[in-house]
């Protein structure tokens, strides 16, 4: 099993969720986060005062999938989240040792 962590532009969340649901992913976790990469920040102007905002709002999507689905999942996330402009985000993939469904006690791929 793999954990896929994806940082995307906030307005792309719905498309990513639909794309994952379309390939049979049954659950994701979403967090509102802030950060910076190559896109850098922006400046905000309040009357005479100008502030540089370093951290931009992004959405972090976490999803765990079975090994055979990893490539397909990465593919659909990439397609859904891409605008072609700087700041589209990144996808990180890490191995997951164990998964437990708390309600039933099921483990492994059966718990996904």
């Amino acid at each position: 099993m793999k954990l896929i962590i994806t940082i995307i532009k906030p307005f792309k969340l719905d498309e990513v969720r639909e794309a994952l649901a379309g390939i049979g992913v049954s659950g994701i976790t979403v967090t509102e986060v802030k950060g910076f990469g190559r896109q850098k920040g922006h400046t905000e102007l309040y009357r005479g005062a100008e502030y540089v905002v370093d951290f931009l709002p992004k959405v972090r999507v976490e999803v765990v999938v079975s090994d055979d689905m990893v490539d397909r999942a990465i593919e659909v996330i990439e397609a859904a989240a891409r605008t072609g402009k700087i700041g589209d985000g990144k996808i990180f993939v890490t191995p997951v040792e164990q998964v437990v469904r708390i309600r039933t006690g099921e483990t492994g791929a059966a718990a996904l």
Binding site: L45, R47, G48
Partner: protein, 491 residues
């Protein structure tokens, strides 16, 4: 130890009023009752002698004035609180709302005790008298003069209408030193500055014995001699450009200097925490301002309608000119810019509201929007001061712009009303723009100097008695928790 002394001083300042009020008033009320002193706005106006009995106020005028009073009260609570509150960081939101509400309440109490009397009864050219101390002698039947001969409104309505003006003026100042001022310092300063700056300036600009006294040239001259200094001079201020806006703005600017910059000013971002609330506040201010300006006609009349229309049009023009300036010079038209433009337009049209034509008001708005934009950008940089919410940039620049342009566009040749001659009972035929602008400048200069000097002394006194600033640690933690023990928002 010092903490207790601070609390004691503020508490006594607050209780002073109430304490004295319960001890003294009866004797004063009776004493004032049988004196026939000509209270400026009251029934004792000389003309009443030959007029048949006590004048009865028109019901429409009375209703209008009371509704306008409520609108002006709404401008402070909640409108100004929200407008200012949205602009501070969220850790200081409640402290701003609290300062507005409590200063408002404090001024109301002081107004009933001595404020109304000192501002709006006959005294000398700078201070009124003590005839209406504790509102002595005011009954539901007493009347106040308007701007039309033989037309009166209930003096109680006039008294509360003016009370709302006094309160918002003092609350406006708060914007200059939010996020670092001690709550006790705000209250003590409010008492002192209200007494020694608001009341005399209001008396100087607005006090006069009413139109009925102007029966002929000689009587008119005699009556005018009892009016406030700037009124005698012929300064035009329809709804408070000098009394309210310049007065408060200068006190704010001096405050920003004396209190000092916020910790981290210029290094850390001081972003407004809710421009949505600021927009709600600005919108409520605009609505309330119809009461402020159109109500200042005192009658439900054509003059009120003119002031209403001007308050609408000048403001809209200023919204447009501010964001156009911002768009051109800074790249983007901002919501805060549009809301600030609205307030700038409202401020600038205040002295002009009942004196200029609609096209004059549009021009005043257009100019004010651009100048106030400069006030919060270029001028602010030149002043090198942390006037946190731009009280001077908007109310000072807008107030001065409005005061001067009132002198220009009041001219009948430019669509204004001209100046009404109560002796001839007609608009004076000759209007000299240059001469009037000179008078307007004198009124502006007088207000700037008076308010500036008084404010400086008041801040120093407050600093000695209770201290002006909270500690740096309290400032970093936020005034909501450290001064008031509560927080505005749960995570």
């Amino acid at each position: 130890m010092k903490h207790w002394i601070n609390k004691l001083i503020v508490a006594s300042a607050l209780l002073f009023s109430l304490g004295v009020a319960t001890l003294v008033p009866n004797s004063l009320v009776y004493a004032a009752d049988d004196k026939a002193t000509p209270v400026a706005v009251a029934s004792a106006a000389p003309a009443a002698a030959e007029a048949p009995a006590v004048p009865v106020p028109n019901k429409g005028d009375t209703a209008w004035l009371l509704v306008c009073t409520a609108l002006v009260i709404m401008m402070t609570v909640p409108a100004l609180g929200l407008f200012y509150g949205g602009l501070v960081r969220k850790k200081n939101m409640l402290s701003v709302l609290m300062q507005c509400l409590v200063v408002f309440s404090l001024i109301m109490v002081l107004w009933a005790i001595y404020g109304y009397s000192i501002a709006f009864t006959e005294g000398n050219a700078f201070f009124g008298g003590f005839d209406r101390l504790f509102l002595a002698g005011i009954t539901p039947e007493s009347v106040a003069a308007t701007f039309s001969k033989g037309v009166y409104v209930p003096e109680l309505a006039y008294m509360v209408f003016q009370a709302a003006f006094a309160a918002i003026t003092v609350c406006l100042i708060v914007g200059a030193f939010v996020e670092r001022i001690k709550f006790s310092a705000v209250l003590l300063f409010a008492v002192l500055w209200f007494t020694f700056s608001y009341l005399p300036v209001a008396h100087m600009v607005w006090f006069w014995p009413g139109p009925d006294a102007f029966t002929d040239a000689a009587a008119g001259e005699k009556a005018l001699a009892t009016a406030g200094w700037l009124f005698q001079m012929g300064a035009l201020d329809f709804a408070g450009g000098t009394v309210v806006h310049i007065n408060a703005a200068v006190a704010g600017l001096v405050g920003a200097y004396v209190v000092g910059k916020r910790v981290g000013y210029g290094r850390e971002p001081f972003k407004p925490h809710s421009l949505t609330l600021t927009m709600v506040g600005a919108s409520l201010l605009w609505v309330g301002w119809f009461g402020f300006n159109a109500g200042s006609a005192l009658e439900a009349s054509g003059s009120a309608a003119l002031a209403f229309a001007n308050t609408l049009m000048a403001t809209a023009a200023a919204v447009l000119s501010w964001i156009l300036a911002e768009w051109t010079l800074k790249g983007k038209p901002s919501m805060l810019g549009a809301a600030s433009g609205a307030v700038a337009g409202l401020v600038a049209v205040t002295p002009a509201a009942g004196f200029v034509g609609i096209m004059g008001a549009l021009i005043i708005g257009l100019i004010a929007g651009v100048l106030c934009f400069w006030g919060v950008t270029g001028l602010k940089k030149m002043l090198k001061v942390d006037d946190s919410l731009d009280v001077f940039g908007v109310h000072g620049v807008g107030g001065v712009t409005g005061a001067i342009l009132t002198g220009v566009f009041c001219s009948p040749s430019l669509g204004g009303t001209g100046i009404y001659d109560y002796v001839a009972n007609a608009v004076a035929p000759d209007y000299d723009i240059a001469a009037q602008v000179l008078i307007q400048l004198q009124a502006v200069a007088t207000t700037i100097v008076w308010s500036g000097v008084v404010a400086f002394i008041c801040y120093k006194v407050v600093d000695i008695l209770v201290g002006l600033r909270v500690t740096e640690e309290e400032e970093r933690e936020g005034l909501d928790i450290t001064s008031h023990g509560e927080t505005a928002y749960e995570m």
